[in-house]
Amino acid sequence: MTDFMLQRRQVFQSLIALSAVGGLAACGGAQDAPSGQVSGTAAPGYFNASEMALIAAVAQTIIPMTETAGAVQAGVPVTLQNLATDWGNAEFQQYWRDGLTALGTALTSEGGDSFTSLSPSERETALSAYDAGVFAGTTEDGFYRDFKATVVQAYYMSEPGATEELAYEPVPGEWIGCVPLSDFPKTWAT
């Protein structure tokens, strides 16, 4: 297990065990955070253009645009680029580079078409099959699990993910322990 995965699980355990119900995403800290950046592939950094294209294509297939932003519109590839460039150490970077290379190969069609060259529906078909294999245990790809977890986290911590896809109240003002779901049907972002 990579260090950051281990750490994430520790965060979850402490959230659950301590009922610190605000949680992981409840906050932030940085002055130079990537808020407002929503471009998919332009951010320069550790990942090269073809890696960024694969990241964007896979992330957007996991979380597509619907009536709300998809992963790309929410800036997930930029977040990942910044994570690898500014946060990740050499080991992390290499793990991601190797993982992306292998994932790109695994997702290349039998006819030799790269994942990024497929149409959105073809991408979904291909990734869906691959994802099912990973989660069924028939395909061994720990990187893909980490990648997916990171995409999901980056999406729901993004402004569109938190405030449009999910529900976010920066200052609720009060706590009510039991309300009808119909009054607040969406998952709270924090």
Binding site: I16, L24, W87, E174, G177, L181, T187, A189
Partner: protein, 554 residues
């Protein structure tokens, strides 16, 4: 936490107070980070390699985040050592307000049962006080601090002066009903927490407001809605005009006049310049935090007190306690899928101690209480779920099932073997000897954790929980000492100067104008979170000292 109370009480009594703080001044504007949104979190709020390098111990605490690290010490600057074979995790922050900024805010009274415990089973020494002695002071500090909670009428966990409690969630109400039906001696109640749910005029006059249910407490609260020294006691002291806060100044020694046997003041070191100064006083209170208070007193040894100041009993630095944790459990509570919550509760439920009280126990004395909560699962479960595309996304939008999590905190017995000493030759960069902590848990703690796990499982099963997760009760160990962040007992109160450091008024037996009201004084620890007890004893001791000063005795 406790020092702010002393400052408030003494300055309100008309005495000039110098609060000596080794850390920096804290301001809401510069230090609090409670208006940060999720998307502002740098790098998905992951700790950096540099964090782990600079904060190897602190970075593991649950409240250490990319935006809260300003409240935790850099371990590299503030070294300590563990005796061979021990693993104490010393978690702390050096700044105005200390841990009162980062504390968990759970606020429980100790009961008569706790104050009698040592006398009854023979561990440690008898408390020199009983519940009735401290009850009015609990009332007093609760009224000022603002504690939310419910009246329950339990002898093991006395009621207090409460603001309205935080509701239990729908799933917690079902859990409560199931547990209380299956186990008549157990109760599931709203946590009692130092967050204002209905602020008083006195609190509003200090600039404090109602809790906004953000659960950003560890980041500081711009609303002043939870009790901290910064939001409550220091402003109260400051408005008297009698309090001066001297920051960035470490106390290295208490100075004693060997002819009178009285403390005359303290020797301090300027953190920035290293300059040494003496600050004189009629009365000295030590509220440095349990470990630093012992460090200062051990470092204040003189010809008359070669083993440390006020240590004629030999008990200084000994009997270190914490609350042991390690019994954790979680489960899905089926049902209530048409229900939800609103807001973010900075709190949860509490299950008061029942072992060796309403129910027997084998293999240990004393007991444990639980903190927990049951909330609907959120998006993080999607991180590990199968699926892609619009259906996967849609599934994440719906709240998941109710997941309950709970953790037991148990009483640790006073044991002279568990102690603090000063390293014979290593010092920090200000020349202060590095402390060596020698603390380990014994059979009583281990057996208690294992029973707490069995009891967790039984309650989760009784509540119809599925996907129950706990450690193995046959092999589980308590979490390392220090993790409870409740260091206590190293300058204990007692009835006999031969076996205790402080008398019933938190006053040194040896040096009558020296008082200690941080966690050092605790004769036993109970299983309750101790800060409220520190507050009550601090206020009581300060008012006693003020009386003695007015009488001319001090």
């Amino acid at each position: 936490m406790s020092g702010g109370w002393v400052a408030k009480e003494m300055s309100e009594q008309g005495f000039k107070v110098a609060v000596i703080e080794r850390g920096r001044k804290v301001t809401v504007e510069k230090d609090y980070t409670d208006f940060i949104d999720p998307w502002d979190a740098e790098h998905l709020n992951r700790k950096t390699d540099q964090d782990r390098e600079e904060y190897p111990v602190q970075s593991k605490v649950y409240a250490f985040q990319s935006y809260t690290k300003q409240f935790w010490v850099k371990d590299k600057e503030h070294p300590y050592e563990n005796a061979e074979g021990t693993d104490f995790r010393w978690l702390r922050g050096y700044h105005e307000g200390g841990r009162s900024i980062m504390w968990g805010r759970q606020s429980y009274r100790m009961s008569e049962i706790d104050f009698e415990a040592n006398a009854r089973d023979g561990h440690g020494v008898d408390w020199p006080v009983r519940y009735d002695d401290i009850k009015p002071w609990y009332d007093y500090v609760e009224r000022f601090a603002g504690i939310s909670g419910s009246m329950e009428g339990l002898d093991i966990l006395p009621d207090g002066v409460f603001q309205p409690p935080h509701d239990l969630t729908c799933a917690e109400l079902d859990f409560k009903a199931n547990v209380e039906e299956s186990f008549p001696g157990r109760r599931v109640i709203p946590g009692r927490v130092a967050n204002l749910t209905e602020p008083t005029q006195e609190q509003m006059d200090l600039g404090r407001g109602r809790c906004q249910a953000r659960n950003h407490c560890f980041q500081g609260c711009s609303f002043g809605a939870y009790f901290s020294s910064n939001s409550a006691t220091l402003p109260a002291a400051r408005r008297t005009g009698n309090m001066t806060l001297i920051s960035d100044t470490a106390v290295h020694k208490v100075i004693v006049d060997e002819t009178t046997g009285r403390a005359t003041g303290v020797e301090t070191v300027d953190i920035a310049s290293g300059e040494t100064k003496v600050i004189t006083a009629r009365v000295v209170f030590l509220n440095a935090g349990t470990i630093p208070t012992s460090m200062i007193m051990l470092n204040s040894a003189n010809a008359a007190a070669p083993n440390g100041l006020a240590n004629s009993s030999g008990m200084l630095g000994k009997n270190m306690m914490d609350h042991h944790s390690g019994a954790r459990g979680s489960a899905i509570l089926p049902g209530n899928l048409d229900k939800h919550t609103f807001g973010r509760r900075p709190n949860g439920f509490y299950i008061p101690r029942f072992r060796n009280h309403t129910e027997e126990a084998e293999g240990f004395v004393r007991g444990f209480g639980y903190q927990g909560g049951a909330m609907r699962e959120r998006w993080w479960t999607s991180m590990g779920k199968e699926g892609v595309g619009a259906d996967f996304k849609a599934a994440g939008r719906n709240p998941g099932p109710w997941r309950i999590g709970m953790i037991a905190f148990g009483e640790v017995l006073p044991n002279e073997q568990n102690h603090i000493r000063l390293h014979p030759n290593k010092t920090d960069k200000w020349g202060f000897p590095v402390p060596v902590l020698d603390v380990r848990w014994g059979d009583n703690e281990r057996n208690m954790v294992r029973q707490a796990i069995r009891d967790t499982r039984a309650m989760l099963e009784a509540a119809g929980g599925i996907d129950i997760e706990t450690d193995d009760p046959e092999t589980a160990e308590p979490a390392p000492p220090g993790i409870g962040i409740h260091e206590m007992g190293t300058a204990r109160m007692g009835r006999d100067p031969a076996s205790s450091v402080l008398n019933a008024w938190n006053q040194s037996w040896d040096i009558p104008n020296l008082f200690i009201t941080d966690g050092s004084f605790m004769t036993s620890g109970g299983c309750q979170n101790p800060s409220l007890t520190y507050m009550a004893f601090s206020a009581r001791a300060a008012n006693h000292a003020a009386e003695l000063m007015k009488e001319g005795a001090l």
